[in-house]
Amino acid sequence: MEAIEVTGLRKTYKDKEAVRGIDLVVARGEIFALLGPNGAGKTTSVEILEGHRRRDGGDVRVLGEDPGTAGPSWRSRIGIVLQDASDAADLTVTEMVRHVAGFYPEPREAAEVIELVGLTPKRNSKIRKLSGGQRRRVDVALGIIGRPELLFLDEPTTGFDPQARRQFWDLIRTLAGDGTTILLTTHYLDEAEALADRLAVLADGAIVAEGTPATLGGRAAGGAKVSWQENGRTRTEQLADPSDLIRKLAADGTDLRTLTITRPTLEDTYLDLIGARR
């Protein structure tokens, strides 16, 4: 059984069609990233999968159940990391983590989870006193305290400094290594590339491309751009396969010290994908 199976998902707000027929399959144990600009329908889609929002059409199965009707036992198997919560400001980190742990049948140890998200030095601080990044790490701790089979991360590293982001990525890899399925939405392409086994790009309520970070949007077949200096001028050629050109240049005795071969980055591919829709 897959962790998430979605067919023909639709959601309309008043006059706007936010989600227009999404199909999606996320396998167990996979890290799946959902990319897309603001307003593409990422959060709406994820909230439907989390059971926070109703759908207008389509079939949704998350861990084998319909999130629209699933009960507490289903919720004990998922973990949700909220995007913009400011709750429990007057509680300490330990108090809140322990409190939420009490809702689950087999929670992780509170101290262990606090250590995992790197908040041990702040464990007795009021949540109100934490920085933005630390606050988000509390959200992550609360998302994983119940030992979820499936974890939802909606733009988890917004507001993190580079070092905190690296630590966070390690944490996600650790969780995935333990078999947790992870559905991640993000704006950061390096994040998707570093973490995701597979990803999909959402634009204007529809999936415009799906694949692995290496193959997304025909990136593997996208060819390469070769450029070098010749007689003081920069020459550039765009080729499906640069092999012949390189051989020829080498045989001709061209000065190759400035040679560069670049393949489209995930960011280039992504911008093409969402740009095509505008």
Partner: protein
């Protein structure tokens, strides 16, 4: 579920106590008003053995319970909806009932403390005599019905509060208006135009205040009530009806988030 509800109650009380603003403005305010009214209106009563301050002490219990139940609950729920508390809890196996019981526990603890504080001020500052056992029995059911009705109405009304920062303003309008027309701030209530008394009679607060006056004042004071008697049966009936109305409103209007559905 019981342990989760208790855990919610514990966390609610902890958060309330750590938020000094709410302690001062919702919790201590009724006692402050009691001291103020008691001082301003002093002993001006023609009834022997009863002072105006004692009447205020009894009536103010209704106000205290109304603010703790209605305002704490209405504003608290709107805030929980806004700051992500409800969204977070809804993503966990916590049953909605445990959340609501947690809130109710907070209100119960606050209401008991509020009542104790007001009675203490009444006894210590205004020599209000404590009643006998049968009156305390009436006090118990009156107290429970009042707390439940006000709490349920607070939950129901939170649905129309769009932003938590407006909650205080929105919720205090009905509260203050009802104090004036229900015999809490102005007593004997018979000074009011009879149509206004009729209006007040549709709402719980008039009956709560009347009931608490029965508990703490000499029997002769019933002549100053609208009906010239304590009307305990009718009080139970009206408050019971408001509990049912509040419950129905809760079940039909409760929203998890400000942009649900």
């Amino acid at each position: 579920m019981t342990s989760m509800s208790l855990s919610r109650g514990h966390v609610e009380i902890l958060q309330f106590l750590r938020d000094r603003t709410s302690v001062i403005f919702t919790f201590l305010f009724p006692a402050l008003l009691l001291l103020l009214f008691g001082t301003i209106f002093g002993d001006s009563y023609d009834q022997p053995g009863v002072s105006a301050s004692q009447v205020y002490a009894a009536s103010m219990l209704a106000y205290g319970i109304l603010t703790t139940g209605f305002v704490t609950m209405g504003a608290g729920l709107a805030l929980d909806r806004e700051d992500g508390t409800l969204k977070r809890l809804r993503g966990t196996p916590l049953p909605i009932m445990s959340y609501l019981i947690g809130k109710l526990l907070l209100v119960l603890v606050l209401a008991v403390a509020e009542a104790a504080l007001l009675i203490l001020v009444g006894v210590l500052v205004y020599d209000m005599p404590l009643p006998d056992a049968s009156h305390w029995l009436t006090f118990s059911w009156l107290f429970v019905l009042s707390v439940v009705a006000c709490t349920l109405l607070g939950i129901a009304v939170s649905g129309i509060v769009k932003h938590a920062r407006n909650a205080g303003a929105i919720l205090n309008v009905p509260v203050v208006v009802l104090q004036f027309i229900s015999g809490v701030f102005i007593h004997p209530i018979t000074q009011l135009p009879s149509w206004l008394i009729t209006v007040a009679s549709f709402f719980p607060i008039k009956w709560m205040a009347q009931g608490f006056r029965y508990v703490f004042l000499p029997d002769g004071m019933k002549s100053l009530e609208a009906a010239g008697s304590w009307e305990l049966g009718r009080t139970a009936l009206v408050l019971g009806a408001w509990c049912v109305i509040g419950l129905v409103l809760c079940l039909t209007t409760f929203r998890w988030s400000e942009r649900d559905r």
